[in-house]
């Protein structure tokens, strides 16, 4: 059985989708990021970067943070969605890292400035909107030649899909990306993806409004993180 530390966000969805795709049994441990659950000292042992998702595989005792690393672990555990043959494996890994270093962070920052910033910051909004738009085009061009990012459906698609889902709210549209639209529609119909994205839907409270929640989510710095780490030593 796998313990999933989770909150219903795009990064959380990567792993809920993957667990559903692999038909693995799992327990959900909600990490309410608005309430600051991710900064509880004990959670640091599981996830030193104060981020969900994280998993603990009770079968092996392995505890893993970072979505990409979790996806690789689960893929190898089940022997699915990550080929073993080197060329095909590298196809998957390069698009997985492209997501982890590009699409995820850029869409995440865009989301911050569109949904959460207390005052409009046009430079930042433009910068991340352009990056998101560029990255969607990169996907679209790639998907001219293949059905999925790495040929066959893989953890690269599972990692990328949740960050395409909010395209409308992020001010983009898929009409100009014919191949990306096809890819998006195909993945959206997968039963495991539907179940994964629905997990914990009811817990969401929408965009945080109170100063306290806003501070918890966005005013963290080295000082607050060191404090949590010190509490762990006691």
């Amino acid at each position: 059985m796998i313990d999933l530390y989770y909150w219903p966000t795009p990064n959380g969805h990567k792993i809920s989708i993957m667990l559903e795709e692999c038909e693995l049994e799992y327990n959900v441990i909600p990490v309410d990021i608005g309430a600051g659950d991710q900064f509880k000292p004990k959670f640091l042992r599981i996830s030193p970067n104060n981020r969900m998702p994280a998993i603990v595989d009770n079968e092996t005792g392995e505890s893993i943070f970072e979505g990409g690393a979790i996806l690789i672990y689960l893929a190898e555990k089940c022997g699915r969605f990550l080929p073993t043959e080197q060329h095909n494996r590298m196809q998957v890994l390069q698009w997985l890292f492209w997501q982890a270093g590009g699409l995820g962070p850029m869409a995440g920052q865009l989301s911050h400035f569109v949904n959460y910033a207390r005052e409009p910051v046009p430079y930042a909004q433009d910068r991340y909107a352009n990056e998101y738009d560029r990255l969607l085009a990169v996907m679209d061009i790639r998907l001219r030649d293949c059905e999925f990012l790495a040929g066959e459906y893989s953890i690269a698609d599972i990692a990328s899909f949740p960050w395409v889902v909010p395209y409308r709210r992020l001010g983009n549209d898929l009409d100009k990306f014919e191949n990306l639209r096809r890819w998006f529609d195909a993945i959206k119909e997968r039963p495991a993806v539907r179940t994964g994205v629905d997990l914990g839907k009811a817990w969401k409270t929408g965009v945080p409004k109170s100063d306290e929640v806003h501070a918890t989510m966005f005013n963290q710095n080295s000082e607050t993180v060191m404090q949590a780490a010190e509490a762990l030593e006691d």
Binding site: M1, D3, E25, N27, V28, I29, P30, K40, K42, F43, R45, I46, V56, N58, S63, G200
Partner: protein, 209 residues
């Protein structure tokens, strides 16, 4: 005194541990739930709700419901106190036992009874047939995980669930954790206080009851 028991079921185990802590030896009548013996005409005379445990006193009085049985035993055999000693301790113990029942064991029951094949037409205990609702099983699983975290927070800096002394709340929580393992919910890796407490209470001789 006679305890109508089922050696594999969680609810009667709470009474067995409670009695063991009091040093009581109860005569036991095994009701095999897997064979449906709780629905027999003879058992219905003892408890119309068709559930164990039931404590039958020497005068024939039958008490069912775990909390009622334990409170009877507490009054009849006060030592050692398992409901605290002072008014505040009593309130704290009952408060936590009630939380464990309502947030932990009830969620666990939802998760278990709505998912196990053998209970398809018995999603609720008792003589009336209720169909399973898979969504309740899912929700129950999450609620159990959440409640285990809550217990972990409660146990931070405390030896026992309701404070400094072992109580019925510890018994109920121990039964909850062991029951959760039936559906493979284990103590989360970051719940270090819960783990420390669990290791201590499960090594008490009464835990084997």
């Amino acid at each position: 005194m006679k305890l109508y028991d089922c050696s594999t079921a969680p609810s009667p185990r709470r009474v067995r541990i409670f009695a063991a802590e009091k040093g009581l030896e109860l005569d036991k009548v095994e009701i095999d739930l897997s064979k449906g013996e709780q629905f027999s005409d003879s058992f219905r005379q003892i408890n119309a709700d068709c559930v164990v445990p039931v404590l039958e006193l020497d005068d024939g009085t039958c008490i069912n419901e775990v909390s009622a049985i334990c409170q009877y035993l507490e009054k009849a055999f006060p030592e050692p106190a398992l409901y605290g000693s002072t008014a505040v301790e009593l309130a704290t113990v009952v408060m936590w036992d009630s939380k464990i029942e309502q947030q932990g064991l009830a969620a666990m029951r939802d998760a278990f009874r709505n998912s196990v094949k053998g209970l398809k037409a018995h999603a609720l205990t008792g003589p009336v047939s209720y169909e399973q609702i898979p969504e309740l099983a899912e929700r129950g699983r999450t609620a159990v995980s959440v409640f285990l975290q809550r217990l972990d927070e409660q146990l931070e800096g405390k030896e026992f669930v309701a404070g400094d002394s072992f109580s019925i709340a510890d018994i109920s929580a121990l039964v909850l954790v062991d029951f959760a393992a039936w559906i493979k919910i284990t103590i989360p890796a970051d719940a270090t206080d819960l783990k420390r407490w669990y290791d201590a209470v499960s090594s008490r001789p009464s835990a084997a009851a």
